[in-house]
Subunit: 202 residues, 2 copies
């Protein structure tokens, strides 16, 4: 029997991606203080990919240390635009401002995934998408934030690409799963090599 | 008031894409005999993009001719691999064979969208994604087809990328919406220019 699979993330979109792929897993958020780690890494001038990979690893290893034997998936995403890193907006007003800052420009979304077992990192992958937002009018931003609601605060980009967020973009380059926060294709390949996948007895 | 919006397609994934984007629309399949048109175009050695655009236009114009004033969206997708065009598989066995043929290779998925009004074509866009499938074992194909079920017969690629289909791929290049069957970003931009979008009063 393959080991149990745990997603060390509270993100609804990551959970949905794994569920859509038909995997059998449980969810256990890591409790890692992401803000503190990010501030520390920013002080070291770490790049967007390194920050995402470090945080994904911390989440996976933290949960894996307390769930012996299980394969634990950690993931994280960071957004960089013209050298500036963006974070999950804490309020709707902050989300609106963030979208105003990103409008008319191209940003990079970096997603990393790490698999850990028995407190040690087994494998990782990172990938990046490039997204170009349309220029926005004030009335468009008002309408978008009003209709999207609190959901805009749950993602680093203040958008929900799988929903209303499609209205924000003129061009999207890169793997959709990566952009939703999880490099799913390399993760599925890694898991399949370890006997976790569609052929797994259920 | 903007005109009513109609999707001239029976495809559940296209309907879902438009619904996720928060648009207010109705669905009215066109009744165009796609197989007959495809055979005729294949006889003319038309390319995959031309076939998709022609069929998308026929669907949009057919419905728009009977729904005066409405903006009607038609869409179609074609799949080409090494010069061969693939079609929606009629049976599970055909779907399995199609996946066996595509395994380990890169194919192109061409999607086209046309908007018509009063029986005339107003606008169109076409886009293409490149998808590389992993090589498959017989036992993987058996497991995939058994778990995915009849859904594999509803798409030209015999996969549901938004679901179990993610297990089939090693690499996906191109816009996710295009790959799901609808170049959504240019469509939303066109509709917004015509007063149909998030700012529309509901």
């Amino acid at each position: 029997m393959p080991p149990p699979l745990i997603l060390a993330s509270a993100s609804p979109s990551r959970r949905q991606l794994l569920a859509n792929a038909g995997l059998d897993f449980s969810v256990e958020p890591s409790g890692v203080d992401e803000d503190e780690v990010k501030l520390s890494l920013l002080g070291e001038r770490a790049k967007a990919t390194e920050i995402a990979t470090t945080l994904a690893g911390m989440k996976a290893m933290r949960v894996s240390a307390r769930r012996g034997g299980a394969m634990v998936i950690g993931a994280d995403s960071t957004l960089a635009c013209d050298g500036r890193l963006f974070d999950k907006p804490p309020t709707l007003a902050a989300a609106r401002q963030q979208l105003a800052d990103l409008g008319g420009r191209t940003h990079e979304l970096h997603s990393a995934v790490v698999v850990a077992q028995n407190g040690a990192r087994l494998w990782h992958a990172a990938d990046c998408g490039r997204l170009t937002m349309r220029p926005f009018t004030d009335s468009f931003l008002d309408a978008y934030v009003a209709r999207a609601g609190e959901a805009v605060c749950s993602s680093v980009g203040a958008y929900q690409l799988e929903g209303l967020g499609a209205h924000l973009f003129s061009r999207i380059e890169g793997d959709y799963f990566t952009i939703l926060g999880l490099p799913l294709l390399p993760l599925l390949a890694f898991l399949a090599e370890h006997g976790i996948g569609l052929e797994q007895p259920t």
